[in-house]
């Protein structure tokens, strides 16, 4: 029942996002017909203009146009890019793997790193791990990832030559993945730590200690599950930040992902690309959200 409701709510959300973005994007001060005529070298006669307007439904009011677009979008016709002349969906299919691997790998790495960091921070309050994770969270709140990227780029790639930032192999993506992960590591580790510490203050935890478990064992056995739950909840809000940093990293490192494509296309007033971009990001957020939700249900069956 809950799952069905989650699904319905997500779909209505997508619907609302698409309608809102469609309405705003049509406010863009550019006439798609005149762009198409110029870019595709079509004859600029009155008949062509009129024909294109009818073909694209530009003569109709907003709502019918929107539903027409929606029908096309759902059936995989996302229009043609003004800049490249290719169909938008083909361009996205080609570039999405880069963006997705960057974002998902960053998020996965962040979770993998945040758990040990948060655990040791909780197990040894004011210890090394605790101080480090606190400093890290202050640091990532103040220092933009792209600036750090520039500095690391130069230090690791040029001075020390530890990484090969522009090679055509998997090392090219290591630095951006690390940078995407960094912010989330800090946030998630703090969330994980806070939840563990709260558990440690509860009476049933004292009982566990009395039964002869060491503090660390007790934390892991009795606190880990709940803390993971809290961490997954935080992942849902962190996903937005991850997608944002993915966009900056694509620009900084010249990775051919969807955000780079958007930036390259937008000077051509490529409305179809912008619309598709917003939709793809919304779906992406939804999938992360749904994944975290499912994982949380597995951890805590009471939700189901």
């Amino acid at each position: 029942m809950n799952l069905v409701r989650f699904g319905i709510r997500s779909l209505t959300g997508l619907f609302a996002v698409s309608l809102a973005s469609f309405a705003i994007i049509t406010m863009m001060p550019a006439d798609p017909v005149s762009i198409a005529i110029r870019v595709w070298n079509l004859p600029a006669t009155d008949e062509t203009v009129a024909a294109l307007r009818v073909q694209w439904g530009l003569d109709q009011p907003l709502l019918p146009r929107y539903f027409r677009w929606l029908a096309n979008f759902v059936t995989g016709d996302w229009g043609r890019s003004f800049r490249t002349g290719e169909s938008v969906i083909a361009e996205f299919v080609e570039r999405l793997p880069v963006s997705l691997s960057l974002g998902m790998a960053g998020l996965a790495l962040a979770i993998v790193l945040a758990i040990p960091l948060g655990f040791f921070a909780a197990a040894y309050p004011r210890g090394l791990a605790d101080r480090f994770s606190r400093a890290l969270s202050v640091f990532v709140q103040a220092v933009p990832g792209f600036w750090l990227g520039l500095v690391l780029h130069w230090v690791l790639g040029v001075q020390l030559r530890w990484i090969r930032p522009f090679a055509n192999d998997w090392t090219a993506i290591v630095l951006p993945v690390l940078l995407v992960a960094l912010h989330s590591v800090a946030v998630l580790a703090r969330v994980y730590r806070r939840d563990l510490t709260e558990t440690a203050a509860q009476p049933h935890f004292r009982t566990a200690l009395a039964k002869g478990l060491s503090e660390r064992q007790a934390l892991w056995r009795h606190g880990h599950r709940g803390a993971i739950y809290a961490l997954l909840a935080a992942v849902r809000s962190e996903a937005g930040w991850v997608i944002g940093s993915t966009a900056t990293m694509e620009i900084l490192f010249g990775l051919p992902g969807i955000s780079q494509f958007l930036v390259q296309s937008i000077a051509a007033r490529d409305q179809m690309v912008l619309q598709a971009y917003v939709m793809v990001i919304a779906v992406w957020m939804l999938i992360v959200n749904g994944g975290a939700y499912l994982a949380m249900r597995l951890l805590d069956p009471r939700l189901a």
């Binding site: 600036w147 520039l150 900056t248 990001i281």
Partner: protein, 256 residues
Amino acid sequence: MLRYCLPAALAVFLILGGFWQPYDPDAVDMFARHSGMTAEHLLGTDHLGRDLLSRIMAGGSRTAWVILSVGFIGFTAGTFLGTAAAILGSWRETTILRCCEFFIMVPTLVVALSAAAIFGLSPLSAGLALGLAGIGPHALLAHSLSKRVLGQPFILATRSLGVSSSGMITRHLLPNTLPLILAYTGNQVGLAIIAYASLAFIGLGADPSKPDWGSMLFEYRVFIFDRPMLMVWPGMAIAATALCINVAFEDCDRVL
């Protein structure tokens, strides 16, 4: 003491930067390129002989506009919607909350990126977009805080004493929720500073000669080898501003 002095100094610097800079931030002087830190140019000049301090100050006032609009829009609209939802209850509460959840479906930076794509990047467009995108999370927070306060016994007591609902809101509800919301606003504004710098760095639809800190970093990244200070100063400006704002608002919930 330092905790209050630093943010105050920052505010003075940002406001001053809007009205006065030692030099015209756009003026080119080919004879004074890469001057280094001198008495005339406190932070030195860039590859075209433009005064770095003037550019950072001009960029500061642009950032200040973003800070103000993001903070104002997110805080006022978020608090209003969230509190209203909590008090009104029933279907109106659900509607408001659903709407706010839709807001969260698209990441803040992507909302701002799209706005920059459509309207061009300026402090105003970025501030509006980031601010509007911040209404959703603000409202959700305000709602859950208000619910918690409304559920407490003393509220029931005041109600039974016949205190008017407006009096209840201003005297009992808001004083309990505002400090936390304000602290959250501070955190969001800190993120907005970084988001605006990222947008300017990406440069979508921006005027590159406008001295935004992010676009300065983009322009000066070539010189990281020979003139690292060109990269360091704008980076420091971003980090210091974000840090100051976080520190200042962290205290809100303690002071109020």
